[in-house]
Symmetry: C2
Subunit: 154 residues, 2 copies
């Protein structure tokens, strides 16, 4: 399937979506954040075809989202581990998950959610906030264009 | 292209990704948050084929993310407007955009970003936070399974 490339877009949302490519990629990152490291584990967890999984992992490594390392137990298996760039995708997954918890499940339906390990309390809802922490509504923000590395993008 | 359905997954990330379907959907929502309302405007902005745009808008309306209303200028055109459910996708787009700003642009490259309208300052970076506002690292959170509507999902 031919896909328009968004990789030269000025919009960082479009570029990110272009890299992520399809949903498998974010589900791979989700599993990696949950501790999955081996090809066969990803395959079992996701139920995805091997050729698709292989291609997505290859892209993630090429883009610096994951890196390949030796098995943590000393065996011959390769392991896929998130880089910092990969771990920094976590807020995107949490935002997707919180929206899904709110809108995609009926009351009393069983669902998974992310909690703080120590307190077992759900995380705070992700909101748009100003630099000094005020919550902002959609109507209070706007898109501007400028140069990265200036105050604009600090 | 056949796609595994994730709509009955326990994972809210998977269900949300299943609804969103492909990247066009999030780019439509992005444009709608920026004030785009008409089919022809979405088409021009996104450069997407009419049949794809039509199909994605239909899904968004069916899922309650957008609703169709009369034209705001009294003309015969229909307009597509985000519901609250749709506006609540904004944190997902901001999280995608902030990650993209950080990782998908070179220094000094031109990029767009979201600012607070009144101060023209960039929004605060989206972080994982506990209920009482402490910033949490990926290692401090975990996934649990429970029932929506209980304290677990409050």
């Amino acid at each position: 399937m031919k896909r328009t490339s968004l990789s030269d877009s000025l919009c960082p949302v479009a570029r990110t979506l272009d890299l992520i490519g399809d949903w498998w990629t974010l589900l791979i990152v989700r599993d990696a954040l949950g501790g999955v490291r081996r090809f066969s584990e990803f395959q079992r967890s996701l139920g995805v075809a091997k050729n698709i999984l292989s291609s997505r992992l290859k892209t993630l490594v090429a883009e610096g989202v994951m890196q390949i390392g030796p098995a943590s137990d000393g065996s011959a298996y390769q392991e896929y581990v998130l880089t910092q760039k990969g771990k920094d995708l976590y807020p995107i997954l949490i935002a997707l998950g919180q929206w899904g918890n709110q809108y995609m499940f009926n009351e009393n339906e069983t669902c998974s959610r992310v909690v703080e390990r120590e307190t077992q309390q759900p995380l705070a809802p992700i909101k748009l906030r100003s630099q000094d922490g005020r919550e902002l509504a959609a109507e209070q923000v706007e898109v501007i264009v400028g140069q990265k590395g200036t105050n604009f993008a600090s």
